[in-house]
Symmetry: C2
DNA sequence: TCTGAATCAGGAACTGTTATTGATTGACGA
DNA sequence: TCGTCAATCAATAACAGTTCCTGATTCAGA
């Protein structure tokens, strides 16, 4: 079971809570305890957990939840715009409460993901659109490197 | 069996052939008929075939070749720098004889991949490096959209 | 409270890829 | 030319991540 009291007062600001409720209302999906648990897990985690990470966190509070349910919840949450996801080759998709366009880098040694602030992409997307007959729908910058810890080894 | 005569005279320029031979020589790997067949398949294909696509082409000439062999060949060819690969989420890795850094776009409807010429990334990588404590090792722009054909439908 | 639709847990199935196996090949020296 | 030994091979099993399917459960609205 989810400790809803704690969730409301400590974990989620009112604005976010309102925003989430609103997005569920508009979409027609229901904000079930499982979907709430997935959101809480994302909130409790620094960084960008994988579905498996989230599953393990959710299971601590509700051991009956299945991995498939977590995937379903993640897909609904992403569809209604409450969470975002990012994919690096050769590693599971990572999820994120930050739905704004932003840059993330993944350590190719330990897998840790961190945000990169302050990078300006400028007119890159427009430039791409000018040079292809395709209609461009998404351009994602996939960045990899070594985190400070792994650099030392 | 590979028609090596045709391969040499029609499919491969002397320069590329030389380059490939040289890369094999330096690496210590041998240029076997299977690896040659994979290269030929890449050369015969417009666009950016997947391992499966290449496997089907190779099988036309040598039905005994297994998919695993194609993967092995691709991994050797990529390791020695004869081919390049690119990965989009939710679709198999695509391979390419163009090993220079360049932009590709994938149609999210039919999966077709095409090159995008003339886009200037400028100092993007330097800008990223300035804004993260990670040491950046690769930045890949993953572009998706709709190809001209799929736009009409 | 009842009813139908949405959602669930559990597990099977699927896709793309890698690892393992013993058999085959092919480059090189005698 | 032949033998030797490492490299490579085909075939298949295994694997990770994810999706799909099923019947059971829950929940919102009448």
């Amino acid at each position: 079971m989810i400790d809803e009291g704690k969730f409301h007062t400590q974990e989620m600001t009112n604005r976010l809570e309102q925003d989430i409720r609103e997005k569920f209302r508009r979409s027609g999906y229901t904000l079930t305890s499982q979907r709430r648990a997935v959101l809480e897990a994302l909130r409790d985690t620094r960084g960008h957990p994988s579905a498996e990470d989230i599953y393990l966190l959710v299971k601590k509070k509700n051991p009956r939840v299945a991995l498939g349910t977590v995937y379903q919840a993640l897909s609904v949450l992403e569809e209604i715009g409450v969470i975002g996801s990012k994919h690096w080759a050769e590693s599971p998709t990572r999820y994120d409460l930050n739905t704004e366009p932003h840059l993330d880098i993944r350590c190719r040694r330990c897998g840790e993901v961190a945000e990169i602030p302050g990078v300006e992409l400028g007119n890159l997307e427009a430039q791409i659109q000018e040079n292809t007959p395709y209609s461009v729908s998404s351009t994602t910058l996939v960045v990899e490197g070594l985190c400070p810890t792994c650099q030392k080894e």
